[in-house]
């Protein structure tokens, strides 16, 4: 009985805090994405600028580790039984990658654009993932070009 109560409390806390945290995070992501709207990050290796116009090129990177709440992990484990799209994890992946990209752009400073952007994911929080995916680490990196 107490176990069930504990479980329900965990789910409730996870749902409330998780929803709040996600909404807060997305608001901050949208705000910063608007701020960096003039700094394109592309996966192309070359750009149309003539070489002598490019003043400098340097490696920029950013990373983020995001986890999802207990409630979403629970619904994802239910989804595992029936199969189909696991929506709970979509926001997790989206948040981690966008946050990593934004941190990369923050590092780029007054560069004109970032070329050859790559996104990597890794797993360091395995002990936190006993029930499948729990958190996701994303690294974004690219070359920031500054124009003369």
């Amino acid at each position: 009985m107490y176990n069930l109560l504990f479980f329900i409390t965990l789910i409730a806390v996870g749902y409330l805090a998780g929803t709040f945290a996600e909404r807060y995070h997305y608001r901050s992501i949208h705000l910063r994405e608007k701020m960096f709207i003039n700094l394109p990050a592309v996966t192309m290796k070359t750009v149309d600028y003539p070489d002598d116009k490019i003043k400098s090129a340097e490696l920029v990177y950013g990373s983020a580790v995001i986890s999802i709440d207990y409630f979403k992990r629970f619904t994802a484990s239910l989804r595992n039984i029936f199969g189909g799209t696991v929506k709970s994890y979509e926001s997790l992946i989206d948040r981690a990658r966008r946050e990593a990209l934004l941190r990369m752009k923050e590092m780029a400073g007054d560069s004109r654009m970032i070329v050859n952007v790559r996104i990597e994911t890794s797993t360091i929080g395995r002990n936190a993932n006993k029930k499948g995916v729990g958190c996701l680490e994303a690294i974004a990196y690219g070359t920031a070009l500054t124009l003369a």
């Binding site: 805090a17 983020a64 709440d69």
Partner: protein, 104 residues
């Protein structure tokens, strides 16, 4: 040291190639951080301790690669790639590699 992840350094000519240089590191956080991350997993959100861990490992791996390149007499590293893997619980392994070159 100029580091890029494209094949060239724009606006500069590569005069000499030194071959592959790489740096890797495996770092772990103390147990307290792991417990905090476990708790944070309940409510979701960013795991700051792990983000920091990742940043430190990446910086160290980069430093090692730059040291190696400097010993070879290079002044730039092109085509840099990051690679990650997990060898142990709560530890981050980061591998960074690229081609050391000398530019004009």
């Amino acid at each position: 040291m100029i580091i890029t992840n494209i094949e060239t350094v724009p606006g500069k000519n590569i005069v000499e190639h030194f071959g592959l240089v790489s740096g890797s590191t495996i770092r772990a956080k103390h147990v307290g951080r792991d417990i905090m991350a476990g708790l944070k997993n309940l409510v979701g959100g960013e795991l700051k301790g792990y983000t920091q861990l990742l940043q430190e490992s990446r910086q160290q791996a980069l430093d090692r690669m730059v040291d190696q390149a400097r010993q070879l007499g290079a002044n730039a590293i092109v085509n840099v790639r990051f690679s990650t893997s997990s060898v142990a619980q709560g530890a981050a392994e980061l591998y960074v590699y690229g081609t050391a070159v000398r530019i004009e």
